[in-house]
C-alpha cells in the first residue's frame, strides 16, 4: 500500500540539515487549570519539514500544548515565536492564519458535503457571475490530490468515506489552506494497518515538501519510525527531547512511564494472583468474547460481587464501547454478557436498568444530565415508579418525591442551594454525584462508570470513590470503572483489566497493580501489535 503513494524518500530530518533558527519556538509555556499545572515551563521547537512526535500518558501535557498552539487555550505564561516573531494565538482563526493546522480525531468535516466541498470549505473559486467554479477548483486541486495519492472520487460524500480517506481529505484541506505545520492527533487510532501505512507515507511526503508535522500517538512504534524528533511529556513537563535513533521502544516506554518495567512478567503474576483470589467465587458479570467492529474484538472478563474492576486503556482501546455495551446503550455484534450466570439479551437501556445494570455515561452534560431541569428532577428521573401514589396510576406523590431527592442529596453530600435549582450551574463533582445517586434507589447489581471523575475536583473525587466503594461493599454491587487517569484506577479499583486496540491485553491486581505496570501493559501491547503488522 505504501508503495502506491508518492515515491519520495523519507525525510532526512531537515531540522538537522539546516542549522538556522526553528520555524516555531515555544519558550516557558505554562498553563494551570485550577490547582493542576497542565503545562510547566515547556520549551519546544519545530522546524520546517520536521516530523515531531509527541508522546506521554493521558494528562501529561501534550494535548494542552497543542490546544495552546491551536488558540483553544490561552497560556498563563511563556512565549510563542514564529520565524522569530512573537505571536499571540488567541483564537483558532489566528492559528490558521499563521499556518498552524490541527486535525483532531473527530476530524471536523461536514459529513453531508462531498470531499471536494470539504476541502474547499470557505475558499471556493468563483466565476464572474459569482457561481462556484468547480472546474477551476478541481484543476487547482489536482496537484494536491496527486501529491497525497488520493485515488477515490472527491465527489463522494464525506460520510461515505472510510476513516483513512477522511484523514486524507483533512490533510488536503490543510494543504489548500497553505499550512506550514499540521498537528495530527492519533491519526491511526481507528485505522487498519494498510490504511495506517497510507497515512505514514503522506506524513513523510509532507515533511519532504517542507510541511512540519506534529505527530501525537500512543503507538510508539510508528512515532519512532516517523519522527525526526520526539518530545516526551510527563506531569506537564517536557522531560525528554530525543532525535531519531536516540531511543528505542523500551527506552521510550521507560521515558514515558518514568521507570523500567517488564510488562509480560507483571501480567502473568497479576493474572495468577487474581485467579487465586477470586476463583472460589462465582462471577456476577461474565463478559464472553464481546465484539463490536471496528472498536472491540472478542473482549472477555469477569466482575465479582462487590468488586471494583477498572477498565484501562489508551485512546481508541475500546473501553467506552465495552462500557456502553454492558449497559445496552449500544448493541454488541457478537459475544455474550452473563449476569449471575444468566445470559442477558438487552434490547435497550431501559431493559438493562430493569435487570439492575446502570451506566454513568462519559459525556456527563450531553448524555447524562437534564441541564435546565432541577436537582430533584435529575435525581428522581431514573426511578419514578416507586413515587406513584398508587402503583397502577401514573400520579406522583410530590412530597415523597421531594423527600427522596432531599435524602439522596444529603446522603451523598451534594452541595445545592435548593432542590429546585437547575443542575447546569452545579460543579462537575456535584453533577457526577447526581448521576450516581439517580441509580441508588434501585436494586443495583452492576454500576458502570465511564470516566469516574473527569472534570471533578480532588475533594469531590475522593467522595465519589467513597460512595461507589460503599455501594460495592454494602450492597454487593459490581462496579466497572473507566478513567483516563491511571492513578485514579490504581487507587480506586480492586483489579484492572487493560484493553488495547479493542482486546484484553492483561489484568493486574494487588501489589502488581501500579500506575507504571498498567501503563506498560497499554504500551506493551501497542508495540506488539505494530510488530505484527509492520
Amino acid at each position: 500500500m505504501s508503495s502506491a503513494g508518492p515515491s519520495i524518500e523519507p525525510a532526512a530530518g531537515p531540522g538537522d540539515a539546516s542549522p538556522s533558527a526553528p520555524w516555531l519556538e515555544v519558550r516557558g509555556l505554562t498553563k494551570n487549570f485550577a490547582s493542576i499545572r497542565a503545562l510547566d515551563a515547556v520549551d519546544f521547537d519545530v522546524s520546517r519539514g520536521q516530523v515531531h512526535g509527541l508522546v506521554g500518558a493521558n494528562g501529561a501535557g501534550k494535548s494542552t500544548l497543542i490546544r495552546c498552539l491551536a488558540g483553544l487555550v490561552v497560556p498563563d505564561a511563556g512565549t510563542i515565536r514564529i520565524d522569530g516573531e512573537e505571536v499571540a494565538i488567541h483564537t483558532p482563526t489566528v492559528a490558521q492564519r499563521l499556518g498552524l493546522t490541527f486535525i483532531h480525531q473527530e476530524l471536523n468535516l461536514v459529513p453531508r458535503f462531498s470531499a471536494l466541498e470539504n476541502i474547499m470549505l470557505g475558499r471556493r473559486k468563483r466565476t464572474r457571475l459569482g457561481i462556484v467554479d468547480w472546474r477551476a477548483t478541481r484543476r487547482d486541486l489536482q496537484d494536491t490530490i496527486d501529491r497525497l495519492g488520493i485515488t477515490f472520487s472527491l465527489e463522494q460524500r464525506v460520510d461515505e468515506l472510510t476513516v483513512a480517506q477522511r484523514w486524507l481529505v483533512s490533510i488536503a484541506r490543510a494543504l489548500v489552506g497553505s499550512a506550514t505545520m499540521i498537528a495530527m492527533d492519533e491519526p491511526t487510532a481507528s485505522l487498519s494497518p494498510a490504511e495506517a501505512d497510507r497515512i505514514f507515507a503522506v506524513v513523510r511526503h509532507l515533511s519532504a515538501a517542507g510541511v512540519a508535522v506534529l505527530y501525537v500517538s500512543h503507538r510508539l512504534g510508528e512515532v519512532l519510525d516517523l519522527s525526526d524528533t520526539i518530545s516526551v511529556f510527563r506531569d506537564g513537563k517536557l522531560t525528554r527531547r530525543a532525535s531519531r535513533g536516540d531511543l528505542n521502544r523500551s527506552s521510550l516506554v521507560r521515558e514515558i512511564v518514568g521507570r523500567d518495567l517488564q510488562p509480560e512478567a507483571i501480567a502473568d503474576a497479576a493474572a495468577r494472583e487474581t485467579h487465586r483470589a477470586k476463583s472460589a467465587q462465582a462471577a456476577l458479570l461474565e463478559v464472553r468474547e464481546l465484539s463490536h467492529e471496528p472498536a472491540v474484538h472478542s473482549v472477555s472478563f469477569e466482575v465479582h460481587r462487590g468488586e471494583v474492576v477498572g477498565l484501562a486503556g489508551l485512546v481508541g482501546s475500546g473501553r467506552t464501547e465495552v462500557a456502553r455495551m454492558l449497559a445496552a446503550a449500544d448493541r454488541p455484534e457478537g459475544g455474550q454478557i452473563l449476569l449471575d450466570g444468566e445470559p442477558l439479551n438487552l434490547k435497550s437501556v431501559a431493559s438493562a436498568v430493569a435487570s439492575g445494570i446502570a451506566l454513568v455515561p462519559e459525556e456527563r452534560r450531553s448524555e447524562g444530565l437534564f441541564l435546565d431541569r432541577s436537582v430533584s428532577f435529575n435525581l428522581n428521573i431514573g426511578d419514578l415508579k416507586p413515587l406513584r401514589r398508587v402503583s397502577w396510576l401514573p400520579l406522583l406523590h410530590g412530597r415523597r418525591a421531594r423527600a427522596r431527592a432531599r435524602q439522596l442529596s444529603e446522603q451523598l453530600d451534594i452541595k445545592i442551594a435548593d432542590l429546585g435549582q437547575p443542575v447546569r450551574a452545579l460543579s462537575g463533582g456535584n453533577q457526577q454525584k447526581i448521576l450516581i445517586a439517580r441509580w441508588l434507589t434501585r436494586d443495583l447489581r452492576l454500576l458502570v462508570l465511564d470516566e469516574v471523575s473527569r472534570g471533578v475536583d480532588v475533594g469531590a473525587r475522593a467522595e465519589i470513590h467513597a460512595i461507589v466503594g460503599r455501594l460495592a461493599a454494602t450492597r454487593d454491587t459490581g462496579i466497572v470503572a473507566i478513567s483516563s487517569e491511571l492513578e485514579e484506577l490504581v487507587e480506586f479499583c480492586d483489579r484492572i483489566v487493560v484493553l488495547a486496540d479493542g482486546r484484553v491485553v492483561g489484568e493486574v491486581s494487588g501489589d502488581a497493580m501500579t500506575h507504571e505496570s498498567v501503563l506498560a501493559l497499554c504500551y506493551g501491547h501497542a508495540e506488539e501489535h505494530l510488530e505484527v503488522t509492520a
Partner: protein
C-alpha cells in the same frame, strides 16, 4: 387562582412546577423578567383599552364567554401541539387532521348512519391512528418530524376530498349534535368546558405524573433520557397520538359549531395553534413550552381579534395582528435571554 397555586405547591412532584415558576419568574435581568410578563401585561392593557373604547360591546359577560368559546377550539388543538413540541418534535398535520375530522364526524352520521357516540369514537380513533403513524415515522423510521407530519397532513387533505367528493356535508346530521357546541351548562358553553377539562388533564399529566416527567426528560435531552432508561420512542409516539386525537376532537367541535362538514374548515388552525403555543412559551417561562402559557397565548390572540373586530378593523388585519404579536413576544424573550447570557 390562589387555590390552584397553593395546591400546586403542595402537590407538584419534586416541587418542580411551582419552584421553577417561582425561581424563573423573578430571576434574571430586568428585561428577562419583563419579557416573561409582557404577554400578560399586554393582555391587561388590551382589555382596558377595548373596555374604555366600547364598554357595551366588549366589556360584557356575554362577550367574554364569546371570547372563551372562540378560544376553546384553538385551545384544544394547541394543547396537543404543546405536548408534541415539548418532546422536541413538530406536528404539521394537525390542521388537516382537524379538517378531516370535521368531515368524518357529520359524514359518519349522515352518510354511514352511525350514532353520535360511535361516530365520535371512530373519528377520535382515526385521529389516534394518524398520530400513531406520525409517531412511528418520527420515532422508529427517524424521519424528520416536519417532513413526516407534512407528508401525512397532505395525505389527509387528499383523504378529505376523497371522502366527500369535495361536497360539504350539511343534511342528515342529528340536531342533538348540532346543538352541542351552542348549548351551555350553568351559563358556560360546552366547548369551553371540554377545552378546560382537556387542558386541565394535560396540565395534570405534565406536572404531576411520571409520564409528564418522561415527556419533559425526552424534550430536555433525548440522549440523557435514553441513558436514564426512558423509552424515548414510545414517549414520542405517545405525544404525537395525543396531538392527533386532540386535532380530531377540535374538528368534531368545529363541525358541531358550524353545523355542517366543510372542506378545509380547520386548515388555518395549524398556524393559529403554532402562534398560540410559541406565544405561550415566551410567557412566564424563558422559551419553554407549557400548558398554562398555551392557554394564555390562545386567550391573548382571541381577545385581540375580538377587540379588533369590535373596533371595526377589517378581518384581513387579524392575521397581521396575530403574526406581529407572535414575532414581538418571542423576539423579546429571545433577545432578553441573549442579553442576560452576556
Amino acid at each position: 387562582m390562589t387555590t390552584i397555586e397553593q395546591d400546586a405547591k403542595d402537590e407538584a412532584p419534586h416541587g418542580e412546577a411551582p419552584r421553577r415558576r417561582g425561581l424563573e419568574s423573578f430571576s434574571g435581568s430586568p428585561l428577562q423578567v419583563f419579557s416573561r410578563y409582557a404577554t400578560l401585561i399586554a393582555l391587561v392593557l388590551m382589555v382596558i383599552v377595548f373596555s374604555i373604547h366600547s364598554p357595551k360591546a366588549f366589556f360584557t359577560l356575554d362577550n367574554f364567554l364569546n371570547i372563551l368559546s372562540q378560544s376553546s377550539l384553538i385551545g384544544l388543538i394547541s394543547g396537543g401541539l404543546t405536548i408534541t413540541l415539548i418532546v422536541g418534535e413538530f406536528d404539521l398535520s394537525i390542521g388537516y387532521m382537524a379538517s378531516l375530522a370535521g368531515l368524518l364526524m357529520p359524514g359518519l352520521m349522515s352518510l354511514q348512519g352511525l350514532s353520535i357516540t360511535f361516530a365520535l369514537i371512530v373519528t377520535l380513533l382515526v385521529g389516534a391512528s394518524v398520530g400513531a403513524v406520525n409517531g412511528l415515522l418520527v420515532a422508529k423510521a427517524r424521519i424528520n418530524s416536519v417532513v413526516a407530519t407534512l407528508g401525512v397532513g397532505t395525505m389527509l387533505v387528499g383523504a378529505s376530498y376523497t371522502y366527500t367528493n369535495g361536497q360539504p356535508i350539511a343534511a342528515g346530521v342529528p340536531t342533538a349534535f348540532l346543538n352541542f357546541a351552542v348549548d351551555k351548562v350553568i351559563g358556560i358553553p360546552n366547548p369551553v368546558i371540554v377545552a378546560a377539562a382537556v387542558l386541565g388533564f394535560l396540565w395534570v399529566i405534565l406536572n404531576f405524573t411520571d409520564l409528564g416527567q418522561r415527556l419533559l426528560a425526552v424534550g430536555g435531552n433525548p440522549e440523557a433520557a435514553r441513558m436514564s432508561g426512558i423509552a424515548v420512542d414510545r414517549i414520542k409516539i405517545f405525544a404525537l397520538v395525543i396531538s392527533g386525537v386532540l386535532a380530531a376532537l377540535t374538528g368534531v367541535m368545529l363541525s358541531s359549531l358550524i353545523g355542517s362538514g366543510t372542506i378545509a374548515a380547520a386548515d388555518g388552525y395549524l398556524l393559529s395553534a403554532f402562534a398560540a403555543v410559541f406565544l405561550g412559551s415566551a410567557t412566564l417561562r424563558d422559551g419553554e413550552f407549557h400548558i398554562l402559557g398555551t392557554v394564555i397565548g390562545v386567550i391573548f390572540i382571541n381577545t385581540g381579534i375580538n377587540g379588533l373586530s369590535i373596533f371595526g378593523v377589517p378581518t384581513s388585519y387579524q392575521n397581521i395582528f396575530t403574526g406581529g404579536i407572535l414575532v414581538l413576544a418571542v423576539g423579546l424573550s429571545t433577545v432578553a435571554r441573549r442579553v442576560a447570557a452576556r
